[in-house]
Point group: C2
């Protein structure tokens, strides 16, 4: 007698006289039909109890959330909704679940409530599906890079470098919190801290990834990054995961090719491998959309949005061209945009990005050559002296999905930019070394993993696509 | 004309009239032979310069570390050590490298020196090989779990829970460092901190992984973990990566089966896919061993050690049996051990573990059923009331490689253990919930990724197997 997962049992197309399965009760109907789930798939296996010959005490303990060990015969199902079911010959209650107190009842719970029970929420269909997809997307990413000659590089999490200036940082310390040691100037003496200097949680692994690209050629990071921004929105987390590929000898065009191929590949992977979970989430999203006023509804279903990315070529236009289109478009002229686009140099908002993708081009869009003053110091300056070789990839429903650039490889130009921003050159000695010794064109991009999971699952709150979200005032579990 | 990687060019077995390659100069001999490397492989491609027809100014700029763009004809090599070489028709110097100041000279550098230049050390053969293997091992791990029905789960990095007690932790904060706000009791008021409570960097994702195992069935973490221990040794890092699988309905025997199969599988993966880098590191290690006194030398080469794991069944014995063997063995009786084993209950040291593996059994060893008081609170208590269902896997040369256990799934027993350790039950409410609602037997183990990389590369200092090591007084780059 072989123990099998629910997923394996559901794939059988022959009767099996003796099977064994362990899982948790989702529902128990009519004292007869157990829907058992073990996480291996969205679907439950129906286990049919011969209640007339089963101890009443056992039947009472078959409650939602209880863990069972079931033995029986796998047969063709007479009911609807499944091909096979188990005729139960024995039930062993592994762990009870008090129907009165178990938080995950067989009914619809609000996502807020489930966030407070994040340790149990993957026992629901929605969160099971979301987290299986999260896992599948992670694997698709590693697989893509591995097959394309990239090396995975673990960028440091604790960093003494605060040069990127991408946002507010968390301090990492083990100094006495109440009475920190002070130096002669009366300031906190970080020389006595664990690392002998002030350290923070990283905001990006890019600069370190560049050091590896300039020796190993093609590398990528996939690790946690942090922002101490006090933003209590549905799109911000204090702790999130980023993917940052970096490639030597690749210019911005190559970067766009790579990003487009990468995004199509990983979304195709889940369309091919996770269609059950996607269909479930697609239906969930459609139900949610129906509760909204018509004008706020998304025009595309979840699967349509994924196909929109995998089946269309990404339109590539310069920031300058985009500004021209936006300045002259109807919503801008009729002041339907919240932020009206008047002139070159404006930072684009999600509403503008979505207009370009969803209304104007009707395909994913790559904008490139942004104004230098709205982009980071390490991006390569163009000959015009005012734009940089940056690119953003815009997706339907969500706006910016990927941000990248060709990096400034010229030592003198980089030094000037660092100086202009008042960054200490000494801090970046190692980064500048890359331009001193065998410098070369190189490029890369960053992808916020949770934004990708939101896009691929149709979930609208970023707290619902990471196991245990960290946000202002919240570090539970 | 197609741009190719060095790795692709070296695999060609026909002449190609026009090839293009970009990379960095490793050496330039006799004004004629460039050894060019682009990180795609350990090997260089030899590019032969027609120096009589090449500008003298260009020739002078072909120095170690310079980045070049070379065009030419791929032909069968007349020299030794390679099958093909490039007859250069054009050289473009992409980035110079001042031979006087470039730190990575074509000679042997000490690992200490290279650690200070961690941003450049992957330009050496040794560190290129180590980091390619690190990447390959990462992929092998993800591949193994994906193929075996596991879901990848990102455990939180910042945690408000300090219940595991696995070691000293780093505090994460953005309170004013010098003048933190105080509460009415005169203590630091963490309610005003970012998360509204005191938070730390995680020491393990296991407890959170258990919540996912108890819904998704089979999960694993692979993420950074932290210890603020002031240990300046060759085996400790303040920041390191851990792999922690966790499986519902699996007991300790299943856990041992899983760990053995997993270790064999990932090491077989690199033996199959990375043999060039392994052979190079094997030779490096043999050369290093020759400099040691005979008695301190390792009896096995690197490849032999890997085969020792992949080709032998792991011997499984209880802690109690191991103590009997150790108490009566020659090195113990002759007081050759640093720590003499006198009685049951002793914590085993690396010397004992290595004796069991290398001398006594001559195969990897799994010890199980350890004394409860030297193991963590969450391990399942045996019927004897004094041992727990823990296991450690011991490898040659390194001692403990994997530590795991069957988890205590009985609510009352777990509560008693928590109480005995003076841990606040409230802190672990969510962990206890797993035992309240549908509890079941489950097990898992932890593997320190850098220890694995050390084992698989033969490197003896843990700082040399992670890109940018974090240790006391050091958070450079």
């Amino acid at each position: 007698m072989q123990l099998r997962t629910v997923s394996e049992l559901l794939l059988q197309n022959i009767n099996l006289p003796e099977v064994e399965v362990k899982g948790w009760v989702r529902t128990f109907r009519a004292n007869r039909f157990i829907a058992l789930n073990d996480g291996s798939t969205l679907n439950n296996i129906q286990c049919v109890v011969d209640f007339e010959n089963t101890d009443e005490a056992i039947l009472k303990r078959i409650t939602t959330g209880a863990a069972l060990h079931i033995k029986g015969e796998l047969v063709e199902s007479r009911g609807k909704g499944q091909n096979v079911e188990v005729n139960v010959t024995s039930i062993d209650i592994l762990g009870d679940s008090d129907a009165e107190t178990f938080p995950i009842q067989p009914k619809k719970h609000s996502f807020e409530f489930l966030r407070e029970n994040a340790h149990l929420r993957t026992r629901t269909n929605t969160f099971g599906a979301v987290m299986r997809l999260r896992s599948a997307l992670s694997f698709a990413i590693h697989k893509y890079f591995n097959e394309n000659g990239f090396y995975y590089m673990h960028a440091p999490i604790i960093t003494g470098s605060d040069a990127e200036g991408a946002g507010e940082m968390f301090r990492v310390t083990n100094l006495d919190a109440k009475n920190p040691p002070l130096n002669d100037e009366g300031e906190v003496d970080y020389k006595q801290d664990f690392f002998g200097k002030e350290t923070n949680l990283t905001v990006s692994g890019q600069l370190e990834a560049e050091t590896y690209a300039m020796s190993l050629g093609k590398v990528y990071t996939f690790g946690p990054t942090f922002r101490a921004e006090n933003s209590n929105t549905s799109r911000h987390l204090a702790e999130f995961w980023m993917i940052e590929p970096e490639v030597a000898f690749m210019d911005l065009n190559g970067n766009m090719d790579l990003a487009e191929d990468f995004m199509k590949s990983i979304l195709s992977y889940v369309l091919e491998n996770n269609i059950e979970d996607l269909n479930f989430l697609d239906k969930r999203l459609q139900d949610e959309e129906k509760t909204k006023p018509q004008a706020q509804r998304n025009e595309m279903t979840l699967i349509e949005k994924l196909n929109f990315v995998t089946e269309n070529n990404f339109k590539r236009i310069s920031y300058t061209e985009a500004i021209d289109i936006l300045r002259n478009c109807k919503p801008n002229k009729k002041k339907k945009f919240k932020y009206i686009i008047n002139e070159w140099g404006a930072d684009l908002q999600s509403e503008h990005e979505r207009f370009l993708v969803e209304k104007h081009f009707k395909c994913p869009v790559i904008l490139f050559d942004y104004p230098a003053n709205i982009k980071a110091f390490y991006m390569r300056l163009n000959e015009d002296g005012k734009t940089v070789r940056a690119m953003d990839i815009l997706f339907p429903g969500i706006g910016e999905m990927v941000g990248g650039s060709q990096r400034e490889e010229r030592l003198e130009v980089l030094k000037e930019k660092i100086k202009a921003l008042d960054i200490d050159e000494e801090e970046l000695w190692w980064y500048l070394d890359l331009r001193k010794y065998g410098t070369a064109v190189h490029s890369g991009f960053g992808l916020g993993f949770e934004r990708l999971v939101m896009f691929a699952t149709g979930m609208s709150n970023i707290r619902d696509v990471i196991p245990f979200p960290r946000t202002p005032q919240n570090a539970e579990f």
